[in-house]
């Protein structure tokens, strides 16, 4: 069965510092991979997605993610974090032919001045 693991429940980063949020998935083939962001009191918004092709994917708000098949990972990165990036981030996987998008438990990002 497919699954998604986000090892870090929360991360604190200084404003201007770089960010990497980890995501590992379990699936037999190459899945569809997503990162969503949830601001307080809001629904989830898609940051980026990977289906195939270039393993480095660019998203909105300056985020990027890299798919590494050998490590079953899809880590999210940003070179310089802004205070407005404080939110909860969800990695998700969707298997081809299925209807379910499976979400990780989320990583809450705190940004300190």
């Amino acid at each position: 069965a497919q699954s998604v693991t986000q090892p870090d429940i929360h991360i604190t980063v200084s404003e201007g510092a770089s960010l990497e949020l980890r995501c590992n998935y379990s699936y037999g083939a190459t899945p569809y991979l997503f990162w969503y962001v949830q601001s307080p009191g809001q629904g989830l918004q898609l940051l980026l997605k990977y289906f195939s092709g270039d393993t480095l994917v660019q998203g909105i708000k300056g985020f990027e993610a890299e798919f590494k098949r050998s490590q079953s990972s899809f880590n999210l990165r940003k070179p310089s974090v802004h205070w407005s990036d404080a939110a909860e981030y969800f990695c998700a996987v969707a298997a081809g032919g299925g209807f379910k998008t499976i979400f990780g438990a989320g990583t809450r990002l705190f940004v300190k001045a």
């Binding site: 009191g41 629904g43 969707a94 299925g98 379910k100 979400f103 989320g106």
Partner: protein, 113 residues
């Protein structure tokens, strides 16, 4: 653009009461979903629909019912509320089943006391 609209935003229920969470989308999406979000657990799929008149169970359907009489609306019904249903509920829609992003509503915070 309204996108996905959920009502109410907050609700407190007593054990055994019933209620309907409303969800409407104006993007002409065939696919609609109900998720619940519990702290540290990510999002779990309750029910989904692939079009008017067609619904099916997700991972955690017990205690809930849905209907889909129109493309736009996908209400979620709780018949006998239980404390275990205290959660944040998100409605989402998508153009296709798997390889498109989900559009989320802003959520309904439900407490059952």
């Amino acid at each position: 653009n309204a996108g996905v609209t959920q009502t109410p935003k907050f609700r407190i229920l007593k054990i055994g009461q019933s209620m309907t969470l409303q969800c409407a989308q104006d993007m002409n999406h065939n696919y609609m979903y109900w998720y619940r979000q519990d702290p540290g657990m990510g999002l779990k799929l309750i029910y989904y629909s692939v079009g008017a008149g067609i619904t099916d169970k997700g991972e955690v359907p017990n205690g809930y019912n849905v209907s889909r009489s129109t493309t736009e609306d996908f209400p979620l019904r709780l018949e006998l509320a239980a404390p275990s249903q205290t959660s944040v509920y998100f409605c989402a829609s998508s153009y296709s089943l798997v390889n498109e992003k989900l559009f989320f509503g802003s959520g309904t915070q439900l407490s059952v006391l």
